[in-house]
């Protein structure tokens, strides 16, 4: 659909992966497109464009959201984390390491969203039970793994961090 001529593009400022970001966009542009096209953060994927698959999951002020459903205006003043902001430089996050060790990624297209959902989950529930794991990932569809190895990756992360405490 062609967006209406008005309102005009607007200037938006937010923090993305720890850095200040500014962009000019139509206020109703999808945050997903802003991230991918303006900020060149193509790790966030589009799978369905209607908030069902979770491939475009990001954290907005610490909450997991589908960026395909978030208007750019909504990002004003927020703190955003995308998959590019999960690892610490070259050092992978424990969740990413566990996905690799357990075979939690196959084709990789759902993985960025799934990683954010998993990171968000273990930050909210450091020792999640099975129901919490399933619930925490229920907005992210994976067609390759049957989820089993993703569950295993989360259990592994929690056991590891648990033993460090």
């Amino acid at each position: 659909m062609r967006l209406p001529e008005t309102p005009q593009e607007t200037r938006i400022q937010c923090t993305v992966n720890g850095r200040a970001a500014r962009f000019h966009v139509h206020p109703m542009a999808r945050l997903l497109d802003v991230l991918r096209e303006q900020l060149k953060l193509t790790g966030t994927k589009e799978g369905c464009g209607e908030g069902e698959c979770g491939a475009c999951s990001i954290e907005l002020n610490g909450k997991l959201v589908n960026s395909c459903l978030v208007p750019a205006l909504h990002a004003e003043g927020t703190t955003i984390r995308t998959v590019e902001g999960v690892a610490d430089g070259e050092r992978l996050h424990a969740v990413q390491e566990a996905f690799i060790a357990c075979g939690g990624a196959q084709c990789g297209i759902c993985t960025p969203g799934m990683i954010l959902a998993a990171v968000n989950l273990v930050e909210r529930h450091p020792r999640p039970n099975e129901a919490e794991i399933r619930e925490g990932l229920s907005g992210n569809l994976c067609r390759c793994t049957g989820y089993i190895k993703i569950f295993a990756a989360i259990v592994r992360v929690c056991q590891k961090t648990g033993s460090n405490q």
């Binding site: 659909m1 062609r2 967006l3 991918r36 953060l41 193509t42 790790g43 966030t44 994927k45 589009e46 799978g47 369905c48 464009g49 209607e50 069902e52 698959c53 491939a55 995308t82 998959v83 590019e84 999960v86 690892a87 992978l92 990413q96 996905f99 690799i100 357990c102 075979g103 990624a105 196959q106 084709c107 990789g108 297209i109 759902c110 993985t111 960025p112 990683i115 794991i133 399933r134 619930e135 990932l137 229920s138 992210n140 569809l141 994976c142 067609r143 390759c144 793994t145 049957g146 989820y147 089993i148 190895k149 993703i150 569950f151």
Partner: protein, 724 residues
């Protein structure tokens, strides 16, 4: 993992335009005219119709019946007619909606029944894409000696592959340099062939490069050829790079799905449960064009008689034309349809004879030295009774069967446990591998790094890991000394398509033999002695390259001795090897809401030696999850040949809330002709999952459900019938 992997939609070229496709709104008709309407600056657009095609207007595959763009007729909803390109995506979408196709409607064929009855002839002379006959023994002579004759009809719905990355392609094209495409695809050389025919270009002027591919499952086997043709036509005319990425709705309604099927069984059996005769009719709905339907039909036909020994078998199978978008490859490739029918039917046969489902099967399993319906003598050390015993122990099958029967009497939520026993042929059917004659190359650098050159694509199933492991093991190197070349038809030989559970077993074997040949080249030239270290290997490579210039070996498929398939008679060794499976499903279903849940799943299989346990288990778990969707949730709703629920909101696949524990076990029997003893694995789990689940539903309720998906509506109807 970090977001750095680049898929086609993450890739941009300077000056790139976006492409869109105008499609037929109706199932069948005569294309009269195309009108460009609305307040659209049409002059800014690149516009392509069938007239702009430089070569042949077809998407070349098995036959050349499918046009790249409809010219005079449309034969299915969503058939492509006009292509548009523009730099502004929003304006492009507006323009797409402003193209009006003037089509004079013709009556359409929308069901298998109407196609068989030839209510309209919509393809060829008789609506038949392909038919096969299998005749073993004397079926007609067996009916009189039967104690029981059991009949049944079974049907399966279409299934959408629903890879999470939609189809996408980027193209550059001009008469001087030819055509280059980058895309999300499984089979670079299928796309290569289609482009060469469409443009009438010599092979070396066409280049196909696979990008990271976000799932395929067969859905990116043949359709990417169509998409590549479209992107390349727009690039050719506009002189600019073109990107076409489908949105989910377009991907779901326009691209291929699993063939719907109808199977009829008539089975003669003795009082003590020996199968005397199997009379099977297996029909697939192929959609509007032939695409891969003959090959899908062939696999489905061969698998329709299962892992059983029966002296008299007759199979009549056909793939028929309808005015739906062409159905195509999807993991399992015809077998999930026919295995569903057989495994449901055998539970009915057991009931008729008065045996348990397991005892009936135990009395009929094929054993080493016995023959399958197509006359193939089993030379593998198959032991289905043992696998069944193991699966039953792991699932606590007998105890649960007893307990559920008791508890179900007083519960609203009924529980049931059921199973299926099945085989899956690995590699191409019949003489397919012989025709393909796949090639793999292995080359080494002076630093001792080895590169595997193959057209097999990594689509999430682990090709690159498996090839690395096979090559490193063959050459006694560390895994980090081996790399896998990006599939690019300019750099890798044609090792065939990435389909048919053939990548590990067939292509992997070629990787192994090419690697061993490379080693032989080094030892024969005297630069390398057995028992070498990686450093000595590197030294030998450097000396060899200094002396001869290039260190590269290739290996080409040759059929193993003693394996024969007769295309004319449709008889013989249909596959070099089979994988074998016994799957047990436990379900609960609510007799108030008619919801079914799979509570536990045990998958026992024999796939030769397991090369990589984590990847192998991942293949099975993912396949079982897709099978659960096939059995219970994934319902393509058709209206006038068009899918009307082309959204993830109303086409439902299993989520993390829906999958049971999927417990995977391997029986390891090394297959001497596979790399390190391995056989094919990828498609197997789609065959046995749905029938195990529906057999469990019957165990819980007594309802004989003969179709999938078992949506709550189907279950409600079946339970009401069972009570009536």
């Amino acid at each position: 993992m970090t977001g750095r992997a680049r898929y086609v939609d993450d890739f941009t070229l300077p000056g790139m335009l976006f492409g869109a496709t105008v499609r037929s709104p109706i199932a069948r008709g005569l294309l009269r005219q195309v009108h460009f309407e609305g307040d659209i600056p049409w002059k800014e657009f690149t516009i392509i119709t069938a007239k702009d095609i430089p070569g042949k207007n077809c998407v070349a595959l098995i036959q050349e019946d499918q046009p790249c763009l409809a010219a005079h007729f449309v034969n299915h909803p969503e058939e492509p007619v006009v292509l548009l390109a523009h730099a502004d995506k929003c304006l492009l979408e507006e323009a797409r909606r402003a193209v009006r196709l003037e089509i004079e409607p013709l009556p359409a064929i929308l069901t298998i029944e109407d196609s068989l009855a030839r209510k309209q002839v919509v393809w060829g002379e008789d609506n038949l894409f392909k038919s096969f006959n299998v005749d073993k023994g004397d079926v007609d002579g067996a009916w009189t000696s039967a104690d029981f004759i059991v009949e049944g009809e079974y049907s399966t719905g279409a299934q959408e592959q629903l890879y999470i990355e939609p189809q996408g392609m980027i193209a550059t094209a001009n008469p001087r340099n030819g055509v280059t495409v980058w895309g999300s695809l499984q089979c670079p050389y299928y796309v290569h062939k289609a482009l060469a025919v469409l443009f009438g270009l010599p092979k070396e002027k066409v280049r196909v490069i696979q990008m990271e591919t976000g799932g395929g499952f067969g859905g990116k086997e043949e359709y990417p050829s169509m998409l590549a043709c479209h992107a390349a036509l727009l690039a050719w005319k506009s002189g600019r790079p073109i990107k076409i990425v489908y949105d989910r709705a377009e991907d779901m309604v326009a691209t291929t799905k699993r063939h719907p099927s109808r199977t009829r069984h008539r089975t003669a059996v003795t009082r003590d449960g020996k199968l005397l005769a199997m009379d099977i009719e297996f029909i697939l709905d192929g959609g509007a064009y032939l695409t891969l339907s003959p090959v899908v039909l062939s696999r489905g036909t061969i698998h329709s008689a299962g892992p059983y020994s029966c002296p008299n078998v007759r199979i009549r199978s056909s793939a028929v034309a309808t005015n739906a978008p062409p159905h195509g490859a999807f993991r399992g490739f015809g077998a999930p349809q026919s295995v569903f029918a057989l495994e449901r039917h055998l539970d009915q046969v057991a009931k008729a004879v008065g045996l348990t489902p397991d005892e009936l099967r135990r009395r009929n399993f094929v054993r080493e030295g016995e023959t399958l319906a197509i006359g193939q003598v089993i030379r593998e050390k198959v032991d289905m009774p043992h696998m069944m015993k193991r699966a039953f122990k792991l699932s606590d099958y007998y105890a649960k069967r007893r307990r559920f029967a008791e508890e179900n009497l007083r519960r609203r939520v009924k529980k049931g446990i059921g199973f299926s026993t099945f085989l899956h042929g690995a590699g191409f059917t019949g003489s397919g591998e012989e025709y393909l004659a796949s090639v793999v190359g292995v080359e080494a650098t002076p630093e001792g790094h080895v590169r595997v050159l193959a057209a097999s694509t990594e689509i999430g199933q682990g090709t690159n890991t498996i090839f690395t492991q096979i090559a490193a093991d063959a050459l006694a190197l560390d895994y980090d000394q081996v790399e896998i070349a990006q599939p690019d038809t300019a750099n890798v030989p044609n090792s065939g398509p990435t389909v048919a559970s053939r990548t590990s077993m067939i292509v992997g074997k070629l990787v192994e033999s090419a690697a061993l040949e490379l080693k032989r080249m080094l030892t024969d030239s005297g630069f390398l002695q057995e028992g070498y270290t990686p450093a000595e290997f590197a030294g030998a490579c450097a000396r060899y390259i200094r002396k001869f210039g290039l260190l590269r070996s290739t290996s080409q498929y040759t059929p193993p001795a003693g394996v024969h398939w007769d295309d004319e008679k449709y008889q013989g060794d249909a596959y070099g090897a089979y994988a074998w499976g016994v799957y047990v499903a436990e379900v609960s279903l609510d007799t108030l809401t008619y919801e079914t849940r799979v509570e536990d799943f045990v998958a026992v299989q024999e796939v030769g030696r397991v090369i990589h346990p984590v990847l192998a288990a991942g293949q099975i778990e993912g396949g079982v999850a897709q099978g659960i969707g096939y059995a219970l949730y994934e319902n393509v709703v058709w209206q006038e040949g068009r899918m009307v629920n082309g959204q993830m909101t109303n086409y439902i696949i299993p989520t993390s809330m829906d999958v049971p524990p999927i417990r995977v076990y391997f029986e390891e029997v090394p297959y001497e002709r596979g790399p390190a003893g391995a056989k094919g694995i990828g498609e197997l789990p789609l065959d046995g999952t749905a029938p195990a689940i529906v057999n469990a539903i019957e165990n819980a309720t007594g309802a004989n459900i003969t179709r999938i998906p078992v949506t709550p509506e189907v279950l409600m109807e079946a339970l009401e019938d069972a009570l009536a």
